[in-house]
Symmetry: C2
Subunit: 211 residues, 2 copies
DNA sequence: ACCCTTTGTCAACGGTGTTGACATCTGTGT
DNA sequence: ACACAGATGTCAACACCGTTGACAAAGGGT
């Protein structure tokens, strides 16, 4: 590493996250991986928060590329699924979660794409704004909830879900009849399936306001 | 404070959060508020995480009380709004976000209530499970996104939203035409309004699967 | 060759959650 | 009433964390 740049730091930061998990990313650990003094990072980023945002944006690279052009619903659906996947990969950073408006290019492109497709679909700019916020809230929420298990493989996840189902089944049937009775149905499919279902129902509701 | 208990610790912890903000709650600060050695907390909670979960559950007290009985939609709508409000008040802890199944009474009552109303509405247990997860994901996501501004008062929030709108308006109109054109419409109403809109559209979509 | 800005290094500050050893207080059985 | 045992509070310390300021080496422009 002859010379440090914002890009090179972000790159090795993502490597570190991939190896040790995102909550293990500390300035000191990153300094070690980067083979430089930890505080050298502060020559390129004002704070760790700024670094995290840059990492987050890097994860969103290409997220708006080659989206389906068949319909606005298909396009937005695919985009939201990709956003969630990117946020799942790097849970702790959760770029969009900070609530602040996009300050990086990839984030900006997301907003633009969603607003554009909604506009073409017939939403006026007020309705498009509400719809945009609704979609982002659901997408981020799903990522936040599922991120705790994102690092496990699918077999482990299935085992954990089974465990949780039996937790519900073991509740007092007098007090929690529906939880006990429906325990076998909880956590259906994969987390991806559940998100896709929620997203489709939200898109149903949004489409319903058009007619 | 003659004697420390789990309940008394949680109570003063919530006071501290109310006064200094939730991210300012440290074991040492809590120890000061509790007028005891900080480490005394570890006699009652295995870890700070366990304490946070207890605080989270305390915030959900009464969340399932006196819900509307007019319709399943009204009932679930109100419950989700309350859950979000509780999570907004204590952002950092984000009880339900951990993705784990409810381990405390108030959390369990939420699941039971939602499943019960959905069941009565005509959802079979598989559909009810999908709908339950969809509602929780949206509710948590909205809370996560809005929590960063929850500590500001409404005037400050309005000012910040105006700032963000002008950020969008200042983008390159050639590259981001919809963001620039629709900037004035972004962040419409209050965060509560935006969540209510999203929730209503999701409920629309869910109701649509019934017929 | 000069200066000046940028970049990396080092020591340190104030903060965090947590642990282990020690003392004290409290309740129970005899 | 006494002694024992467990629960509870105190204290010092550990291993981290993000961040700052002073200092040295490097690099480019005039």
């Amino acid at each position: 590493m002859t010379r440090l740049t914002r890009d090179s730091i972000v790159t090795t930061a993502i490597e570190v996250i991939g190896k040790h998990g995102s909550e293990q990313l500390s300035v000191r650990r990153l300094g070690e991986a980067i083979d430089a003094d930890p505080t050298a990072i502060y020559r390129h980023f004002r704070s760790k928060d700024e670094l995290l945002r840059a990492i987050g944006d890097r994860c969103l690279i290409g997220v708006t590329d080659d989206l389906p052009t068949t319909s606005w619903r298909e396009c937005i659906r695919e985009l939201c699924i990709r956003i969630r996947a990117a946020n799942l990969a790097q849970p702790a950073l959760a770029t969009l979660v900070r609530g602040a408006p996009p300050r990086h290019d990839n984030e900006r492109r997301i907003t633009e794409t969603i607003l554009a497709r909604l506009g073409e679909a017939g939403f006026d700019s007020a309705a498009a704004a509400f719809a945009y916020h609704a979609l982002i809230e659901l997408t981020i929420g799903s990522a936040a909830i599922d991120s705790s298990l994102a690092s496990e493989d699918s077999a482990a996840r299935a085992r954990i879900y089974a465990e949780w189902r039996s937790d519900y089944a073991a509740l007092d049937a007098g007090m929690f009849p529906r939880s006990v009775g429906g325990a076998a149905s909880l956590y259906p499919g994969t987390a991806d399936d559940r998100f896709a279902y929620a997203l489709d129902r939200l898109l149903d509701g949004l489409a319903g306001t058009l007619s």
